[in-house]
Structure formats: C-alpha cells, structure tokens
Symmetry: D2
Subunit: 135 residues, 4 copies
C-alpha cells in the first residue's frame, strides 16, 4: 500500500520527530489486520464447527474495530496529541494480542485463522514498536 506513504509525504506541515517509515508501516499493518479480522470472522461463521469458534469471531470483530479506529487516528496529524496516539496504540496492541492468541488456537484446523493470527501478530508488533518510538 504505497498510498499510505504518499499521503504521509504530501502532508503539508511538519510531522514532528516521528519515524515516518515506522508510522507508515504501522498504518499499513492496521488496515491489513482490520480487513483480515473482518474476513476471518466471516470465514469462522462458514465453518461446520462454528459453535467452537464463537469466541474467535468476537475477538476478530473487536480487533477489526480497534485497528480501524487506530488506523484513522494515526492518519491524522493536525493538532497532534501524543496521549491519544499512545493510549490507542496500547489498546489496539491488547486487542491484536487477544485475537492473535485466539486465532492461533485454531490455526492448525483453519487456514484463515492461521493467516489472521499472523496479521494480528505483525500488527501488535508494529503498534508496540511505534509506542517505543513515540518516546
């Protein structure tokens, strides 16, 4: 998603001291993870053993909401507020960890859970890495 970087590069004012490569990577991870979680929730609904996957669907839906909101917040730079950025990155990392853990439990049986768990892990790491970079 080259577009994320393009939008950062064309922002008209100073982006502060933030590492824009890390910021772009995190936004990209967030939108990928949100989509993967939305798709995984639906794939779980189509499994014959859906009754065993209800907690997974719920984790997916929470994680999708968390990632979408955080991607939006990270895409805004006007009147930047480090508190909001940090608290949402932390909340989002929590949701990604929970969903990654839950999907991992079904990864051997369901390929979509394996793929989604990977997206959640990458996204969790990206969020934690960006938190560290915020100083």
């Amino acid at each position: 998603m080259h577009t994320v970087e393009q939008m950062l590069k064309t922002y008209p004012k100073d982006l502060g001291g933030i590492d824009t490569a890390k910021l772009a990577a995190t936004i990209q991870s967030l939108v990928e993870c949100a989509q993967a979680c939305t798709a995984c929730a639906d794939a779980c609904l189509s499994e014959d053993n859906v009754a065993d996957l209800t907690k997974c669907v719920r984790s997916n839906l929470d994680c999708a909401d968390a990632c979408s909101a955080t991607a939006n917040i990270l895409s805004r730079h006007t009147g930047y507020d480090a508190n909001i950025t940090r608290t949402f990155l932390q909340a989002c990392a929590t949701a990604c960890k929970a969903c990654g853990d839950e999907c991992s439990r079904h990864a051997d049986m369901h390929e979509h859970c394996r793929a989604c768990a990977e997206a959640c892990r990458s996204c969790e790491l990206a969020c934690r890495d960006l938190i560290a970079n915020l100083g």
Copy 2:
C-alpha cells in the same frame, strides 16, 4: 435509546457481575457522543473562522472513532475479555477528555461546540464510572 437496554436484557447468556444499568448508560453515551462529534466536526467546517477550529475538527474525528469502536466492543459479551474492555474505556476517556477540553474553548462562540463538549464530558464520566465498576 431504549433499544440498548432491550438488547442487554435479551442477551441469552449470563452478563457476568457487571452493572447492566451502568453498561447501558455508557453504550448510550458513547453512541450519542460519536454522533455529536461527527456533527460538530462538520459544523466547525461551516464556520467562517474554520481556520481557528482545525484542531477541534481533528479532536472531534478522533473522539468519534474512539466512541464508535468502544460502543461496539461494549455491545459484545461473548467470550468477554476484561483487558480489552478496560483498555478501550481508558483510551476512549482520554479521547473524550481531549475533545471536551478543545470544544469547551469554543463553547462561548459556537453552540455546537458547547453541545458537543457536554456530550464528551458525559461520555468521559460514563467511561470512567464503568472502569471503576469493572473492579
């Protein structure tokens, strides 16, 4: 919004020890605040002094995203995870406080900022009250 309570009452399993009246009130505050912030961002865009309100628009948009995601998370009870609930209530209270503070600065001049600041304050209090109730 009587519907919020109805959906809680008709949930088929145990909701745990949570105070359902407080939970309903918080969900209601969150959806009201999300809508107020979306509308306030747009009202700011229509003000002649929009150039003085850009930080307000940004706070409004963040707060709307925060409240929508948190309302969704609080509307789910299957496979409940107290960590996610708590961390999102905290992140959301942070966004509501920031937006309430920013809107308050323009409340004398713009009625929509006054109304939105009130919605943000109520929502921040509801979130903090529910955090305390989570134990």
Copy 3:
C-alpha cells in the same frame, strides 16, 4: 437522543429545505439500529443453535456497517451532495430490509432477534421516508 436535534439546531449555516425533524429521526434510527445489530450479532453467537444463525450474524454485521456509514453521512451538511445522501439511504434501506427479514425468521425463538428486527424495520421506514422527502 436529544443530542441529535441539538446538533442539527446549532449547525451554523442553512440546512436547505430538508425537514429537520425527519432528518433527526432518521439519524437517531440509524444509530439505534447500528447498535442493535452489533448486539444481535453477538447475542446470536451466544445461542446454542448458533449454527442456524450464521446468515443472521452476517446480515447484522452488514446492517451495522450500513447504518453507521449512513448516520455519519447524514450528520454532515457542509457541501451537501443529494446524490450521495440518496444512494446511501437506498443502500441502507436495502441492508435494513434484509436484516429485518432475517431477524424476523428467528423472532419467535430469540428475543434479541425480535428486538433487532423492530429496529431494522423502523430504520428502513425512516430511510425510505427521508428519501421521499429529499424530492
């Protein structure tokens, strides 16, 4: 949700010829329906016969997305574009009808589906009524 009306009344510019009472009622129906659908999807996940409710969960999630997007669009008046408003009201009414129909099929067995079907019907009617009012 008195807040919806307050935000409409405090909008600083002319709202055009639109019936603001109908507009407020529609926005309110949309946010109520979005929340009811989010909650109903989760309640279905907690039912013992969740395997019979997977289409219902999917309809709920689509309808929640449709109503949230449409509520946001209707909450904006700056640079109003009747085409976008009309096309989203129509798409949203389609999603509300589909979800209302699906929830109605389970209304005898599941109270949350009955309550959600009502929210979907009200919202569908509000959307269609507002479309007619747009001229």
Copy 4:
C-alpha cells in the same frame, strides 16, 4: 496487501461464480481509498487555505465511510446477498466519484489532493468493474 487474497483463498466454502482476483483488487482499492481520504481530510485541515477546502474535507470523510463499509461488506461471503453487494458498490462508486472530482479541483495546488484523487478514481473504477462482473 497480499493478506486480502489470502483471506479469500482460505474461505472455507464456495465463493460463488465471482472473479476472486477482481474481488480482491476491489477490497484492496477500498481500504487504500478509505485511508487516503482520512489522511487527505486531515491534510486539508493543515493547509493555510483550509477555508477553501471545507467541501473537500467533507467529501473525503463521506468517501472514507463509504469505502470502509463497502470493504467490510465485500469481505463477508456467508449468506451472500447480491442486492446488498450491488447497492453498496453503486453507493460507494458515487461517493468515490464525488470525492475524486472534488480532490481533482485542488490537485494542482495540493499534492495530497492529487494522490487522493487517484485513489478515488481507481476505487470508483474497481467498484464499477465489480458491479459489471456481478452480472
């Protein structure tokens, strides 16, 4: 965003006759466009001539909501309803066209509007192409 394709390939049931390459490309365009519009709205807020860009911000926000909702709907296949898919693709194409037109007006002056206009055009085309493919 390889993840979109992976989630489609690992969906456990039949996806119907749909062209999955086109579907993946459309979902990818939608999430890219939603993020670009969110970022462009914020970049406009930081421009010195923000007062000339208020309609652009509004179009951006509508288009972001439209694309996010449509990306979610296209990411679900359980209990597929062609009516909802078609009506949302049409509504989304309308929002993308409006936003692409508006951003194009400022493309010479603002690089973020140029980049966002491109994302909107690609997304509009992808939506229309997929509508034609639905039959």
